[in-house]
Symmetry: C2
Subunit: 308 residues, 2 copies
């Protein structure tokens, strides 16, 4: 097997919780360098910024970008221009236009761009998609609720314009449901709840329409107490499919199904290695389109101030 | 010449000001019917709703939809399903996802879908695009300012969620600038000004980035007194191009250029006839992508209440 040297850019919570363990466990990659202003990883060469890494290490062919969405475009553009394969955390950008531009830049430069949606690699995602493929879809209900203090401690960027607020986790649900459903949805109504002291929503209620009168509902909430709920329930002509724990577990009519998969981030890096090997890109903006539609079409309400 | 019977759906201000005169003057079309709850056009068969028209007149092959964006998707879906060619006023939908779905539906059904951007057919648009094609772009400045009371009298839908507020005219500027520029832009910052009693913005300030450090700015405002300003100024290595009056007139370094074109709506219907003849569709969501990005990425400020 070819071992590809990879640099990890942005050493925050998601990098330490997910990316570093996944890269370490994957024989296709070797963590050759990091980029972080606030400290890297023991025993791995660190650079203060991406231009320094790109200049010092032309031999590293791949980079994985985990920083927040607003600064990600400039980094991805620089890495693509330097001929590196690029993997992007979700969401792939702060705007749709920049994601579409990165896709074109990568194709023009002949490098792989992988705009990841980690929830599409949840353990039960493929099994859910396969089971739904020949069913008539009658209802879709998404509940994605977590305690923002637990899952985004001190992450101020999530409350800034472009940080997306509760859509940062909510887009995981949208990425998963758009993978597994055999039909396509479009947003018809949304209500976004903004804390009076914040520039991003803490909760959102969404309604979608599908073919043949299908309607779908989603409730995203960051004010959850007592354990997160990351659940999708889909009613069909052959029973009810339920994904819980963000897609890690699958039930059909309440009976748990056995699923086998390597887990989200190991699966993401396996896919990145395949894409590099095949000389292809994987950029699907659909989950971000639904989020943009919710901001554009949705009504707003002001709710109680939120303080960390 | 083949004369195509066409039905006009939604007989409001834009239909009376633009669509009816353009259809009447175009030898390729005959206005065969209208759909309006509040009264049609003298001497033309009228139906109370689109399903009634589609059922009563299977012989009419083309429909032009001018109603507000929120109800437009259901109408377009019904018309496409009934095998009619469809022309959509701008914006082509209330959400991006529905525009992409309509495009797929039309292709699957084998009919023409024309998502129009009337400002792309302004008299000087082609000349501006041709002049810019080989220039290095140094700056872009858009000013699109009008009195909402003059241009949208009593149109309550523009203030509702999905009505887009000042982006309803602003998207005209975005459609024109994305046609004429030889480079692509993406939104980097936006400030949207919401009247304290309204659910849509009355003004917006946008910043975009392009290649090689290019930045672009746009100011949209509905609070304009004393005459509208619909202007785009583009600085290049070979002088400054200025479009005024929404693209009807073109200046290079202040010298007016002679342009010849049939005008926006006559040109739109000419193009619709060509697309039907060629069996093609024309659906470019890019202007709506920039608007969605502004709502998603933009910050918000509250400004004085607006009352008609």
């Amino acid at each position: 097997m070819t071992v590809t040297d990879i640099a990890l850019v942005g050493i925050g919570k998601i990098a330490r919780d997910q990316h570093i363990p996944a890269i370490s466990a994957d024989p296709a990659f070797r963590l050759a360098a990091t980029v972080s202003r606030s400290g890297g990883v023991d025993g791995v060469e660190n650079h203060a910024d991406l231009p320094a890494l790109l200049a010092a290490r032309p031999d590293i062919p791949a980079v994985s970008l985990t920083m927040p969405p607003v600064p990600r475009y400039a980094a991805a553009t620089a890495a693509i221009a330097a001929g590196r394969h690029v993997m992007l955390e979700k969401p792939p950008g702060a705007s749709l236009a920049e994601v579409l531009k990165l896709d074109r830049q990568a194709r023009a430069r002949g490098v792989t761009l992988f705009a990841t949606w980690h929830s599409r690699h949840a353990e039960a995602a493929d099994a859910a998609r396969d089971w739904l493929a020949d069913k008539a879809i009658r209802s879709v209900r998404i509940d994605w609720k977590e305690d923002v203090r637990k899952w985004h401690p001190g992450q101020d960027w999530i409350w800034q314009p472009g940080g997306l607020g509760v859509f940062d986790p909510g887009i995981n649900a949208l990425s998963l449901v758009t993978k597994i459903l055999p039909v396509q949805l479009h947003l018809t109504e949304a209500t976004l709840s903004f804390p009076e002291n914040r520039a991003a929503p803490i909760a959102a209620a969404l309604a979608f329409a599908g073919p043949d009168g299908l309607s779908a509902e989603a409730a995203f909430d960051w004010r959850q107490d007592g354990g997160e709920v990351w659940q999708i329930e889909i009613g069909t002509d052959a029973g009810t499919l339920t994904l819980v724990e963000g897609g890690a577990r699958l039930m059909i009519d309440g009976t748990e199904q056995t699923v086998e998969a390597p887990g989200e981030y190991p699966s993401l890096y396996r896919r990145f290695a395949e894409l590099i090997e095949q000389g292809e890109s994987d950029v699907d903006p659909e989950p971000l389109i639904h989020v943009a539609d919710a901001f554009m079409l949705g009504g707003r309400e002001t709710v109680a101030a939120f303080n960390d």
